[in-house]
Structure formats: structure tokens, C-alpha cells
Symmetry: C2
Subunit: 131 residues, 2 copies
DNA sequence: CTGGCTGCAAATCTTTTGCATCCTG
DNA sequence: CAGGATGCAAAAGATTTGCAGCCAG
């Protein structure tokens, strides 16, 4: 655990914004002006491999990172791509017929919709590119 | 509907492989050797905008495309990234408390696990890069 | 000294864009 | 001829890799 890694974990810990690697980089840069992209990416990969954070595939444009260790689901605005956590558990056992002989490890639910800001007559946020 | 677009739809229609844009390109290239990346990407975007196909965020490394119009879920091998369809519906109404005043449009469940091939002692597939 | 980590640059991969051309009506 | 589609090349954005230098054990 180097100072850089701690800074990255500090930034992600308790952060519910699901930041992208670029956002992590910008944030940590304030503390470590010499921090490089490569270190951020390498560190995020290593932390992910060690199970300290999760990489989310919710945004096709880029990876987003989540340091919340509790299993949870997500609510995504299809317009501005804002992502909120849904901590409520769901009972989602996959029936044998649908398992295709996979060993099931877990599941994840995405709810998608329009957030209040984007639903308002004068949308506050531009649409994300949503790649 | 141009011949190129029909070729792309033909390739995707009934295809349960959830191919990436590059895979679509390679496949359609056999029929249209002059087909360019740009046309594939532009066409995929247009078909998506018209609701003829869905763009999946299941693979952080790249977009995957699915022409199956029925709402359904996915079962993903975390090792080789193989993706299977789960046509069974789930009752997943999000309680008011968790809606954060979003207008909910839908949901999608990913089940993840290890497929039989990757679980076998001599794994047949290399791990995907999983970006 | 050795191994791991950092920082920089270059490379890679995926996707998008600009633009000239072509086809269709 | 006007609009839309294609093909090519270049650009853009995200991520990875190669490599030299640095630091700690």
C-alpha cells in the first residue's frame, strides 16, 4: 500500500458516484500532482484483482469503479447516466433449466429510467454520449 | 434499408452470440468486401436508435449487440465472457423507497458464473481480457 | 541487490467524425 | 439535383504496455 494507492482508495471509499478511471485520475491528481494515468489504471486493475473494488459495466463508454463491498444493484438514468445504488436485495435464484450447467456465482440487477432532473421540462444535464 | 444494412441485420437476427462491432464487421465483410468500419458503426448506431437492436453493456471491453427484441436477461461466464440468454422473466418491481423519484423504464439482470468449459480441468478457452 | 511501484511515452483498441463520392428518387 | 448511405482516412477517447528510474526491505 503506497500513498498513491491509499489516495485512490480514499477517493473511492464511500464514494457513491461510481467514477470512471479519468475521474479518479483527476481527483487524485490534486493530492499527487505527479500521478500518471498508467499508475491509476494499473492500481485500479490491481485493486480489482484483489477484490477491493468492482469494475462496473454499466456505462458502455467507459469503466466505472465502485468500492462498496456490499453486494448491491444499480439504478441508472438513461439520459444523463447518473448511477445510484440500490442496496435492497432481490431473491433471484436462477432455475436449473436456465443454468446451462454454469456454476452460478452471483447476479446483478440494473434498473433504468429517467432521473428527476432529466424528467423536468428544463433538463439540467445534457444527455451523456452513452456510446 | 440498403444491402449492407440487411446483411448486418441478417447476421444479428437469431444470433445468440452477442457479437461485438468488430465481429459484425468481420462477418459482413465476407459478403461485402468493401464494407468499412464506419458503415458498420454508423449502421449499428442507427439500428439501435430505431430500436431494432440493443447495445449491451455486459462486457467492459466493448459494446456487444443483440437483435433479440424480447426483453430478457443474461448469463455470463466470468472467465471466457461467453454470454447466454435467459428468457425467463423476473418480477422486479423497485419499491418506492428505492426509486429516488426516477421514472422506471425497465430492468435487466446479469447472472454471472463459470461455464462448463471453463470449469473443466483443462479449460478450453483462454480467459477473456475483460478489460 | 531485488522486486515492486511509479511516471512517462508510445502503442493498442474501440468508436466516432469529416469529407468526398455515389446512388436513388 | 437533394438527401441519405457508403468508404476511406484521420481523429478521439479509453486503456494497456514497455521501459527506465526509484524506493523499501
Amino acid at each position: 500500500m503506497t500513498p498513491q494507492r491509499m489516495a485512490i482508495m480514499d477517493y473511492l471509499d464511500g464514494n457513491t458516484q461510481h467514477p470512471s478511471a479519468a475521474e479518479v485520475y483527476e481527483a487524485v491528481l490534486r493530492k499527487f500532482p505527479t500521478m500518471s494515468f498508467a499508475t491509476v489504471y494499473n492500481t485500479l486493475r490491481i485493486l480489482k484483482e484483489r477484490g477491493l473494488l468492482a469494475e462496473l459495466s454499466l456505462d458502455p463508454a467507459k469503466k466505472r469503479f465502485d468500492a462498496n463491498p456490499a453486494p448491491h444493484h444499480h439504478l441508472i438514468c438513461v439520459n444523463c447516466r447518473k448511477i445510484l445504488d440500490v442496496m435492497r436485495p432481490f431473491d433471484l435464484s436462477l432455475p436449473q433449466d436456465d443454468r446451462h450447467r454454469f456454476r452460478i456465482l452471483g447476479n446483478h440487477v440494473d434498473f433504468y429510467g429517467i432521473c428527476p432532473r432529466c424528467a423536468s421540462p428544463e433538463p439540467a444535464a445534457k444527455p451523456g454520449k452513452g456510446r
